[in-house]
Structures are given as structure tokens and as C-alpha cells.
């Protein structure tokens, strides 16, 4: 229905702005319907302004800024309609040290209500994890799981 879509859209726009400001430490965003009269076929434009910069086309953003903006959008969708289980495969790959710290902080917060599996090469993200699985290939072509580290907190979560 038109009303349900508009409510969701406004909800996502609001949470996207909030998440963007948290991940970028400021700035502003807008989500714009390209055809508000036709909600079944409209597009959704994403317009963002990182702190201190000018409002510009998404195309001009850097690789890291795009990844951070996209994760702000993902997190905003998860705020509007939580999922019990979320999987991110190297979503933090293009982020520099200070951005990945903020990303890990947001991840920790969301993990209170949802279960996350994240594949990562990034130390800050690893440190945010409750459980760590290492995958190795000592025998070529065959995966082997090793070195599980459970924090005390995770032990407690596991046994319920």
C-alpha cells in the first residue's frame, strides 16, 4: 500500500541519516523518490555530504566513503526491520583505521539484538567479535577450521 511504503521510506531515510552521521562523525544525507506519484516504479536517489565537504554525486565519493555510506544504508534497513541473523563478507575491506573503528563499534551495538557472522581481514573488526574462527588450508584444496577463541561473554551467551 502507498501508506506502508511511505512510512517505511521515511523511516529508512531518518535512520540512514542517523547511521551516516554516526559512521562519518557528521555530514548529512537525503533519500529522494524520483517519482513520488508512482510508488510501484519510482527510483530512490541517495544524496550524501561527508562532514565539511560539498553535497555531490555519489559517483565522486572515494572507495572507502562508498563502503561506509553503503554500510550506513544496510544498518538503517536493519534498524527498520531487524533480521535475527546477518552475514557480512569483507564489507569493511576498503575502510581505513579510524573508519573501521567506528564500523566495529556500530557492529557491536547491533549484535546485542542480532547474530552476526563477519568475514574479515581487519583487526578492529576481529577484536569486536565474541567468537573467532580461523580457516586454514594446510592441505592444499581442503579447508580446516582452527583456533576458536571464545571470550568469557561468548561462553556465557552460548550456554544461555
Amino acid at each position: 500500500t502507498r501508506e506502508l511504503f511511505m512510512d517505511t521510506f521515511n523511516n529508512v531515510a531518518e535512520h540512514f541519516d542517523y547511521m551516516f552521521k554516526r559512521l562519518f562523525g557528521g555530514g548529512r544525507t537525503e533519500l529522494v523518490l524520483t517519482d513520488p506519484s508512482n510508488l510501484l516504479e519510482t527510483g530512490v536517489e541517495v544524496i550524501v555530504q561527508p562532514p565539511g565537504k560539498k553535497l555531490q554525486n555519489l559517483l565522486l565519493l572515494s572507495g572507502g566513503e562508498r563502503a561506509l555510506t553503503a554500510s550506513a544504508l544496510l544498518f538503517s534497513l536493519l534498524m527498520v526491520r531487524p533480521s535475527p541473523f546477518v552475514m557480512f563478507d569483507e564489507v569493511d575491506a576498503p575502510l581505513d583505521d579510524s573508519n573501521v573503528e567506528r564500523f566495529a563499534e556500530v557492529l557491536r551495538e547491533f549484535s546485542k539484538d542480532s547474530q552476526f557472522i563477519v568475514v574479515t581481514h581487519n583487526r578492529a573488526t576481529m577484536e569486536a567479535a565474541d567468537t573467532l574462527y580461523g580457516v586454514t588450508m594446510q592441505e592444499p584444496g581442503v579447508s580446516k577450521l582452527i583456533s576458536v577463541r571464545l571470550t568469557d561473554e561468548a561462553e556465557r551467551k552460548k550456554t544461555g
Binding site: 554500510s71 544496510l74 526491520r81 541473523f85 563478507d89 549484535s111 567468537t131 551467551k157
Partner: protein, 165 residues
């Protein structure tokens, strides 16, 4: 509701039976290039019902079965089981623990099971339907996909919003 355990056998590089015990909160999967991390992500998407073999980086459905290595022969079957903690009663089945299993054979034949009882893929979809588990594009993000979220046609972004409604 959360995933308690993932069991993988014969799926891609997991030639030997492998078990991951998962907690609520964050589980990080780490390791060198090509070791099998994204293959674990694929195993989860697959057991939750992913039918588009391109989303699993394959060309045909049997591509998920361990194809062999220098020292090992190919296997004849891939199997993944996902065990969900249902003490919260979110899933519409009267069990505190629900295990979903998917198998595929070299012939292309597939099997689906819920708590060791054969069922159809459709039953697995219906079981998980209201939870959004594995079905919402924004809850399962593959490697390299994050940039696409901003590059997609602006109509595809509307679909993301519709999914969240």
C-alpha cells in the same frame, strides 16, 4: 532466535566434515586468501535455500560439491546442516531446536530435511519466511557486493525499501 551450529561436509573446499558452533553476538571468520571463508558464507546461503547458482559463484548446481584436489578425489555429495535455537518460539514448529539440512548429489538430485525428516525446499522457505532469515538482500552481503548497493539502478534501491516494509 539464533544459529547454534553449522555443519559442512563435501561443500566446496570442506571435503572433511566441519562443525562451527556459533554464539549470539559476533562471530568473525578469518584466514588467508582462498582458505574457505567465503565458502562458509556460501554454505549458509545455500542451506537457507539459495537457488541462483551464480550467487554462489558457480556455473551449475553441482559446482558446490568438492571437486577434488591434487591429492584427493572429487566427492559425490555436498551436505550442509544449520541448527537454529528456537527456544524463543519464533519459528512455527514445536521444537526448541530446529535443524535444516540440504544435500546435492553429482546427478543433480537434491534432498531437503527439517529435523532429519525429508521435506521440500518450499517447506524450508515457509519455515523461515517471517523471520526474513537469509531472504533479505540487506542481511546477507557477499564479498564485493557492498559497492553494488550504491551502484544499483535506483529502482533496485526501491526494492530494498520494499523488503524492509
Amino acid at each position: 532466535m539464533h544459529i547454534k551450529r553449522l555443519e559442512i561436509q563435501g561443500f566446496k573446499t570442506f571435503a572433511d566434515r566441519t562443525e562451527l558452533d556459533l554464539t549470539s553476538g559476533i562471530t568473525a571468520v578469518v584466514g588467508p586468501n582462498g582458505s574457505g571463508k567465503s565458502n562458509i558464507a556460501d554454505a549458509i546461503a545455500w542451506v537457507l535455500g539459495e537457488q541462483n547458482v551464480r550467487n554462489l559463484r558457480g556455473a551449475k548446481s553441482q559446482d558446490v560439491i568438492f571437486a577434488g584436489s591434487d591429492k584427493r578425489k572429487p566427492l559425490g555429495m555436498a551436505e550442509v546442516s544449520l541448527t537454529i535455537d528456537n527456544t524463543c518460539g519464533t519459528l512455527p514448529l514445536d521444537y526448541s531446536e530446529i535443524t535444516v539440512t540440504r544435500r546435492i548429489y553429482r546427478s543433480g538430485d537434491s534432498e531437503y530435511l527439517i529435523n532429519k525428516t525429508q521435506c521440500r525446499l518450499k517447506d524450508i522457505y515457509e519455515l523461515l519466511l517471517d523471520t526474513g532469515m537469509g531472504r533479505d538482500a540487506y542481511s546477507m552481503v557477499s564479498q564485493g557486493e557492498i559497492d553494488a548497493i550504491l551502484s544499483v539502478k535506483s529502482e533496485d534501491r526501491r526494492t530494498l525499501i520494499e523488503e524492509a516494509a
